[in-house]
């Protein structure tokens, strides 16, 4: 499913990209643009680390999630294995760094991810009817409601999230009003099959 594309010499903005160096001595510098180690080339998502696609993500949603991870609103529940892996990645980011990262992520080309989940799309379509009011008919997201796009996201990641919401491993922390909404929604998915079905339907939406 991975689309071949021409590799061009791509000059990324050299903008704020703050490299931190200890002034007293000449030391190896580092920066906060380490996201692709886990999230894959140009933030395409990496199953190997269970880190989802970031390319094409709405700036407002990306910002909120980074802030949630940073403050511990997300990624603190002991059963949220993947969230726990992500949280320390954000816990030391400054507001400046977050702004820089959002610019950087914005420079990546959106590529729909590979399909890995099998389910009953027809059954999934029925379930999705209840989701569309917030996430949109084509899972394109709705900023006004704070609901992100789901189309083209790694399907294995969507499955993890729905399980985490359903079990209260994501969204139950105080201060996570948006996540809390999803806890209720995820209860409508009665079992793993229902989750796979709705995700396999989302897989059919908005793939360019």
């Amino acid at each position: 499913m991975i689309r071949k594309r021409l590799l061009v010499i791509l000059v990324l903005a050299l903008s704020v990209h703050s490299i931190q160096v200890n002034a007293a001595e000449e030391r190896e510098p580092y920066d906060d643009r380490y996201c692709t180690t886990c999230h894959g080339t140009d933030g395409r998502g990496n199953y190997g680390v269970q880190a989802p696609r970031l390319a094409g993500m709405e700036a407002w949603y990306l910002k909120r999630q980074l802030e949630n991870f940073r403050s511990g609103v997300r990624g603190t529940h002991p059963r949220d294995i993947e969230g726990i892996a992500m949280r320390p990645m954000a816990s030391k980011l400054s507001d400046e760094s977050i702004a820089d990262i959002i610019d950087w992520v914005g420079s990546w080309e959106y590529i729909p991810t590979e399909v890995t989940i099998e389910g009953d799309e027809t059954a999934g379509a029925q379930l999705y009817a209840q989701c569309a009011s917030c996430h949109g008919q084509n899972a394109e997201g709705n900023e006004a409601l704070g609901a992100p796009a789901l189309q083209g996201q790694n399907d294995w990641y969507l499955v993890t999230q729905l399980k985490n919401f359903k079990n209260g491993w994501r969204g139950a922390e105080s201060g996570d009003a948006f996540g809390a909404q999803m806890i209720g929604m995820a209860q409508m998915l009665s079992d793993d099959d229902a989750i796979n079905n709705v995700v396999s339907y989302i897989n059919t939406l908005g793939r360019k």
């Binding site: 590799l7 380490y34 894959g40 080339t41």
Partner: protein
């Protein structure tokens, strides 16, 4: 109401689970070590006037091995390394070095002296790892003995002897004594001699007696092997008190104390003088100019006639077209690159899990262990910090760097903690052995391999069962070992059945180059 098992019952128990006759036959088949011992000479064709381009993805040991060997044969090699340093899991930390743990970057503040270093990844070279040793010789890397087993180091277990540390020597001598007494008793009671001839039985009995230092009547009554309680030089030595067997059984240290130095870990172990990364420095003296640093591979597109690589360096995406490519990037990170691998190949890449190794070290303000007659070696604790390593180098200097924790399997326990929590955990664990530990150490560093940039883990885990590889795992392994179009090779200890050794990384490189060599010979013939 616990019923005591008699010695005879115990031996009968052993008899039913094993059987001496079987053990006698098994003898030579019990191969603990993979078959190595002599380094293999690589017979690779020199290219002469033919031009072939090679990309090495990742400056790990296997990648550098390829660059060095193919460079010698006239291949045009480029090494792309994402990090600021080569070596990957061969990492020595010294004064001022950056420890690139994502989310917890540290600079090392150790004193700036040659013996003040910490091998945060690989730290021991087994004598039988002959291909690695051959490179050390070829590249003129000075080696010295690494001390692992040290009878004067401690064992500590809260459940044993009220948590008081015991010298390894005391522990082992007493255990051996008690075991020998039981065995000798059973021999003389005609319980075990059935499969032996008379002279074999005699010789076995004498081995048992000397194994446990038994006294008259085949009794274990303590031993001078534990050293003297007092005297010994100018006056007669006074023997240490025996430790009751039952007291030793209360702890969990037996397995670790008695088997920690077997197989690859057996003496004599070696280390490069001045740090394990001197091995990397040795390779870089040969191929250093071919390395591009902070060059993160982004894409691997395998074509019929070559491989197109893309990499990011200085915020610019570069292209590199080559004939062949050798890839030691950890499999789970390769999954996230822009590639055109087949479904089966990707399935194999995805299958491999990673070990979660964790290490920590302190600078010691003084070499307090030497005052306790410890020169090198490892103390072991039944707590999460698990081990303390005393440096075999820098003996009698003012300070030293000690390993404060080593968790090879379940390192997430410490990885999940903040830096402060990690350090406090090691201090409170270590002071169970060295009461004044907290005041004697400073300048901590921690290395959580699961979060180290561009590595995110330690040894590749192919096996999901302790019983061995499943047929499916074997198949996935061979799928990944086979080069894509004869052009893209996965290398590294991840592409062996004995991961987590430098020797394995080298042997994977040799396998791949020999496979390539056949193809090149066929093409040029």
């Amino acid at each position: 109401m616990t019923r005591l098992v008699t010695r005879r019952e115990f031996l009968n128990l052993l008899g039913t689970t094993g059987g001496t006759a079987a053990a006698l036959k098994a003898g030579t088949a019990l191969g603990l070590l993979p078959a190595t011992g002599t380094a293999k000479a690589l017979d690779l064709l020199a290219l002469g006037s033919n031009n072939k381009k090679v990309a090495v993805l990742g400056g790990g040991l296997s990648g550098l091995t390829v660059a060095h060997e193919l460079g010698k044969r006239g291949y045009d090699v480029t090494i792309l390394e994402a990090s600021h340093r080569c070596g990957g899991r061969i990492m020595t930390v010294r004064h001022g070095d950056l420890i690139d743990e994502i989310g917890n970057r540290q600079y090392c503040e150790f004193d700036d002296e040659p013996h003040m270093y910490f091998n945060a990844g690989a730290a021991r070279i087994p004598s039988l790892h002959s291909n690695l040793l051959a490179y050390c010789k070829e590249l003129e890397i000075e080696l010295e003995v690494f001390v692992g087993e040290n009878n004067n180091a401690y064992l500590q277990d809260d459940a044993m002897l009220g948590g008081k540390p015991v010298r390894a020597n005391d522990y082992k001598t007493n255990i051996r004594g008690f075991l020998s007494e039981m065995l000798a008793k059973s021999m003389s009671e005609q319980q075990m001699d059935e499969p032996f001839t008379e002279s074999e039985a005699e010789s076995l009995l004498s081995i048992i007696r000397s194994f446990g230092d038994l006294s008259e009547g085949d009794l274990y009554q303590g031993s001078f092997r534990t050293g003297y309680k007092s005297g010994g030089f100018l006056t007669h030595g006074v023997q240490h008190d025996m430790i009751a067997f039952r007291d030793l059984l209360a702890g969990q240290m037996g397995r670790r104390a008695l088997s920690a130095y077997e197989g690859d870990y057996g003496p004599c172990l070696l280390q490069p003088t001045g740090g394990m990364d001197n091995i990397i420095a040795g390779f870089l003296r040969k191929v250093g100019e071919r390395v591009k640093y902070r060059a993160m591979v982004a894409a691997i597109q395998v074509r019929d006639d070559g491989v197109e690589i893309a990499y990011d360096q200085d915020d610019v995406r570069h292209k590199l077209d080559v004939d062949y490519c050798f890839n030691c990037i950890p499999t789970h990170l390769t999954v996230g690159l822009d590639h055109n691998f087949s479904g089966d190949y990707v399935k194999a890449l995805k299958y491999v899990k990673r070990g979660q190794a964790y290490k920590a070290a302190f600078q010691a303000k003084e070499r307090f262990w030497e005052k306790e007659a410890i020169y090198g070696g490892i103390s072991r604790m039944n707590n999460r910090s698990s081990e303390i390593w005393y440096p075999p180098h820098g003996i009698h200097k003012d300070k030293g760097v000690i390993l404060a924790a080593y968790d090879f399997g379940g390192g997430m326990y410490h990885t999940m903690m903040s830096q402060e929590e990690r350090v406090e955990a090691h201090l409170s664990d270590g002071e169970k052995i060295h009461p004044d530990y907290r005041n004697l150490v400073e300048k901590p560093i921690t290395i959580a391999w699961h979060r180290m940039n561009h590595m995110l883990g330690c040894a590749a885990r192919w096996r999901t069962s302790f019983r061995g590889w499943t047929a499916e795992e074997e198949e996935l392994y061979h799928t990944l070992q086979a080069p894509v179009n004869g052009r893209h090779y996965v290398i590294g200890d991840q592409m062996t059945m004995h991961s987590a050794w430098m020797e394995s990384a080298i042997l994977s490189a040799h396998w791949a180059m020999e496979d390539l060599d056949q193809r090149v010979r066929a093409e040029l013939a």
